[in-house]
Symmetry: C2
Subunit: 187 residues, 2 copies
């Protein structure tokens, strides 16, 4: 029997990045749809996002969004964000803190070229996201999506895990400042 | 065929509260395990919580936690929180903003009396949540759980929904200040 990877700090961090990578590659993986928190003028705000990239080597994640969305506005004032994944198959909660920046226009063009045509329509909406509509049918896809496409680049600074094991819960924290070596903490 | 409840604002808000109520009653319902955002000194923080009460009449939700947890500390400084549920069966994302307050000690005693014995052990942990451990086995359940039990009462001020329909996405917002009448907004 192979040892449980969540019984070691290194094994736990390996699992986090493997599961994030799986989220990018596999539509059905838990990490495909993390919950993203930003802080706006009225407090925190949460929404589901689609994970588009996960690079362990530089501790970066990517999400695509509409440049006109509230989260882009929030990040302009408060770049500190949080991300959350509950991976039921691994019995593991992944909590991430990161600094967000926004690539758009020329800087985002390379990424936009890789977005398949049907997915591009998301960025063509008018009126802009969050505007009041008399009826839902008032909303159409009439804009140039390239104008509104934005890549949120998330520089991960902290990862916390909670693994619900059959014997006990194991909680661990890993930070960029600590070289990702990790510590166990009380659940 | 009954009309799709998500095609009307009233129907949408009914669905939200029905699904929150189901989360309280049914361990397998999506709203059983919302994601809760608080804002701390290092930015937003997210974690899974268990929904313990949902009262539409006074727009309140409840969650139980450990009085020593970071979220209680966060709420003491910034009571504005957010909560998120993705209900796959309804194809609906529920986003909630609320003001949190904490009932503990005498005030929380009535609720604690209703917590079954096995669930009480969660509040008996030592060292306190978040303290560094040399090994996970250093953590035990040696404290009096009544001392650390806390009810987070969430006064809901805003509910936003995104329903992914076969024809189009419908996004709606409802506020306490607006008497919960609701508006459609651009997705």
């Amino acid at each position: 029997m192979t040892p449980d990877p969540f019984h070691s700090l290194d094994g736990t961090l390996d699992q986090v990045w493997q599961r994030l990578a799986r989220g990018v590659a596999d539509r059905r993986a838990a990490a495909r749809h993390p919950t993203l928190a930003t802080v706006g003028p009225d407090g925190p705000d949460l929404r589901t996002v689609v994970l588009r990239a996960a690079r362990r080597s530089d501790a970066q994640l990517e999400v695509h969004t509409d440049l006109r969305s509230a989260k882009v506005l929030h990040i302009g004032r408060e770049p500190r964000i949080a991300m959350h994944v509950w991976d039921a198959k691994a019995d593991c909660q992944i909590r991430i803190n990161a600094l967000a920046s926004c690539l758009s226009g020329e800087d985002g063009r390379g990424r936009f070229a890789q977005v398949p045509e049907p997915a591009r329509r998301v960025y063509a909406g008018f009126p802009p996201p969050g505007k009041v509509l008399a009826v839902p049918e008032e909303h159409g896809e009439t804009e140039d999506p390239a104008d509104h496409f934005c890549v949120l680049v998330l520089d991960v600074v902290r990862i916390e895990t909670l693994h619900l094991g059959p014997d006990r819960h194991r909680r661990a924290v890993f930070t960029a400042a600590g070289g990702w070596s990790g510590s166990w903490i009380a659940p």
